[in-house]
Amino acid sequence: MRNNFIGAVMISLVVILTTGCWDRREVNDVAFVMGTALDKEGDKYRASIQVALPSQLGGSSSGGSGGGGGGSGKAWALFSKSGETIRIANNMEQAGIPRQLYFAHRRTFLVGEDMAKEGIAPLMDILGRLPQNRLSVFMVITEGPALPYMKVTSEIERFPSEIVRELAAAYMKSPAMAKTVIHRLLSEGMDLAIPAVRIVSQETGPGASDKTTIKMDGMAVFKDDKLVKQIFGQEAEALLLAMGEAQMVEVPIKPPRGKGTIVLRVQRPNVKLNPKVKSPDDIKFTLTLEGNVSVVENASAFDTASDSHLNELEEVLNTELEGRLKDLIKQLQTEYRSDPIGFAQTLYFHKPQLWRHIKNKWEMIYPTIKVEVISAMHMENTGTVLKPLGIQEEEMVE
């Protein structure tokens, strides 16, 4: 009995001690990759990785040796190599880094414009194959090459990758992660559109510093896996609205009478697509835009206190949005030949028989379909004041 017990303890000790520890890796022997920027260089990929430097992060007094010297320098280091594949480039970088590259915490994946134009399908493999590469990484297309984005000098976040991550997470209702990108690439009747970013100066005007930051106000429109066009500003906003991905849109409008500008906010807008098919040559879609509107700023003398005035504002807003969406859809149909709104998919879901029939001819049909845009925004509140503040009763526009 006693010998058995001792024997069992010895055996389990041997088993534990000889088999354990093989994958032990202290947190300080690991280099956390915060973001990757990918560019095409001739035949090769240039993979640039941003690695967090914990010693520069400060945090709680990180030991007497550093003297609490956190925050003095950059909290990141950039490593960039080009190789035949992404993995090969990463391995070349690893050779020069004493800590092991660790990709599980990477949430930013920037793809350069040129690289995206050649197609992004080949790089999805490595994202899906290695468990360390998370499919929840945010994919963003940059204007121009991606590498400079890793070096923006804004100090608002600790890493430039973090700026992109935070922006991307709030940009769309279902943010463009690698998994949604793959889903879009593989689903029938829908083209890919993911956020596009550009570098801007952090402040402009005389005496401004040369700090740069990343601005996310665009959409990269794809045809299959190839980038067709990056659109920015109002156009990108319209695309987000049409895709039903817009979080919150603020639209400046001119009041029906009088001078000035009123800013309206559309909250959680919704989109409905309804196909009306008479024949394969006569396909009509109705795109209905719904949402609640509130007045966030009234820089005019227009009285926002009465119901009839609010209805007028609603109408102005609806016409404005309808116009923007119509222009955008026209461009998508004729110029970009891309369908990120998913007309084809709606058709596929509503009329699968018909879709099977016209699937091969869709390229030709798409530019000819008619789309009616109906904006049905509902004015909900005017903020905490009814009438414009700071304007005399008599000066108000009736």
């Binding site: 690991v30 007094s61 990180s62």
Partner: protein, 504 residues
């Protein structure tokens, strides 16, 4: 001692011979008093007692005085004089050995000329601690009385709460030298007869020179002596003992200690406090969940911390792992060693705090907080997150109301930390499975340690993960009593009342 010989030595009735016999036995004990008196002026008698152990006032006023003043005629006729004393408890003694034991335990032996039967008069005295508030189990709401070192007081405290003939007590004398009185108490109609028989057998079979505390008995009678888990519960509170009796358990009183053993126990009971039942049910349930949560923290947190920062860096949010990495940047030790240093110094601090006199206690806490908490972090020997983990674990282990269970949890933390340092989360799971397996196998006086959950009993759920209001706990736990399970007359009565009386 001559009393050890085969033939028990008996009193003869010849006073001088008997007295000699006693004197031989008690030779060398300086505080023995032999007091001669003449009963009613006709009959010689001698009182034998140990002066430090008895109430001498009692002997003077209620034995010597009434016997000496006894009517001469009466004194001549009598064959026994116990009835003329003012002592309520009198036992006859014909043999030397029990008489000696009685004298040693503070009673007075009366030898009378011509009587072969001596009387043992209970004149127990000496200093006793009064009933005070228990220091090891304090409550905000609940009785403030606690057991004392006197067995009689302790039994009386419980009997005061249990005014029923069903509360049976059986007395044992344990320890060949200490002759400690041990009393097993139970409610006859609730406790399983088999279990009571078994526990009496175990207590009776103890053969040891001395029993000074319940811990001696606990170790000698538990089912699995090698298990780290306590298989009995102890308490200083009469109300807790009474509550256990009401659920069909037994209590074991041991003379000389304010702690009372109770059994059989389940693991669930170990994280219940008597106050759970005194406060509102919702509060009791919340506190119970809190303790379950902190039980898990006390057992697993250091192990999980070690596992995540040496194996599973992907399991923490990015910012958290980065700040942990930042604070660990200058630390020379692997996480396991760092954790061991901190955990061991915490245990040392706790132990020092318990043992030291109160006046020095503050010095310990200053040293602990400053030297270990702050300086070690500043010197870069341990990281700040590790200090947080260790302190949280410490607080968590103090959340467990039963000290013996908390210390088990604290002990089990160390093997889990080693497993985590060697095999990561896989090791923790292995450890957890082993612990769970052991707990499933463990029995306390034949009752499964996890009873209510393993084996599962639906009706016992009322009092394990939640504390249902009393009007919902109609029945006693099945794992303990198979008979007389109804605790409450009829709850429908309460429901009816509530409906009828407005404002209820």
């Amino acid at each position: 001692m001559s009393a050890d010989s085969k033939q028990p030595m008996r009193f003869t009735g010849a006073l001088d011979a008997d007295w000699d016999m006693i004197r031989q036995s008690l030779d060398g004990i300086s505080d023995v008093i032999y007091r001669e008196l003449t009963i009613g002026g006709v009959r010689r008698a001698v009182l034998v007692f140990i002066s430090t152990n008895v109430n001498t006032d009692l002997i003077a006023k209620h034995i010597i005085e009434p016997l000496q003043k006894l009517d001469r005629k009466l004194a001549e006729q009598q064959q026994s004089y116990g009835v003329f004393t003012g002592i309520p408890i009198i036992d006859p003694a014909t043999e030397l050995r029990p008489a000696i034991i009685a004298i040693l335990s503070g009673k007075t032996l009366m030898l009378t000329e011509g009587l072969a039967e001596a009387s043992i008069l209970n004149t127990k005295g000496g200093k006793q601690r009064s009933v005070q508030e228990p220091t090891s189990e304090t409550v905000v709401r609940g009785p403030r009385e606690g057991f004392t070192e006197s067995l009689n007081v302790n039994v009386s405290l419980v009997r005061n709460k249990m005014k029923t003939t069903a509360f049976k007590t059986t007395s044992f004398s344990v320890g060949s030298l200490t002759k400690t009185n041990v009393v097993v108490g139970y409610l006859e109609h609730l406790a399983e007869p088999e279990m009571i028989k078994e526990i009496k057998r175990r207590v009776a079979s103890i053969d040891m020179d001395g029993v000074l505390e319940t811990g001696y008995i606990e170790e000698l009678i538990e089912d699995n002596p090698l298990s780290p888990f306590p298989q009995f519960q102890y308490t200083e509170r009469p109300d807790t003992a009474a509550a256990q009796l009401l659920e069909g358990r037994f209590v074991i009183f041991v003379d000389g200690t304010p702690f009372v053993l109770m059994g059989p126990v389940s693991a669930w009971q170990m994280i219940q406090s008597s106050e759970d039942y005194y406060e509102r049910a919702s509060i009791g349930t919340f506190l119970r969940w809190l303790r379950y949560g902190f039980l898990m923290i006390a057992l697993f947190l250091p192990a999980i911390y070690i596992a995540t920062i040496t194996f599973h860096h992907d399991m923490l949010p990015t910012n958290l792992i980065l700040s942990i990495a930042a604070s660990r940047e200058a630390i020379p030790f692997p996480a396991l060693v760092e954790a061991l240093i901190m955990e061991l110094s915490f245990e040392a601090l706790r132990e020092a705090g318990v043992r030291l006199p109160k006046a020095v206690g503050s010095a310990v806490s200053i040293l602990g907080a400053l030297v270990i908490g702050q300086s070690a972090v500043q010197a870069g020997i341990v990281s700040a997150p590790m200090v947080i983990v260790v302190s949280l674990t410490g607080i968590a282990s103090f959340c467990l109301p039963r000290f013996n269970f908390a210390i088990t949890i604290r002990l089990l933390r160390f093997p889990l930390m080693f497993l985590a340092g060697i095999m990561g989360l896989y090791g923790i799971i292995v450890g957890a499975v082993l612990i769970a397996g052991h707990m499933c196998k463990l029995r306390s006086v034949g009752v499964p340690y996890l009873s209510g959950v393993a084996p599962y009993r639906k009706s016992d759920e009322d009092d394990i993960f939640v504390r249902l209001p009393w009007w919902k706990q109609e029945k006693r736990p099945t794992s303990l009593t198979s008979r007389n399970r109804k605790r409450m007359g009829s709850t429908t009565q309460i429901d009816k009342l509530r409906k009828r009386v407005p404002g209820w």
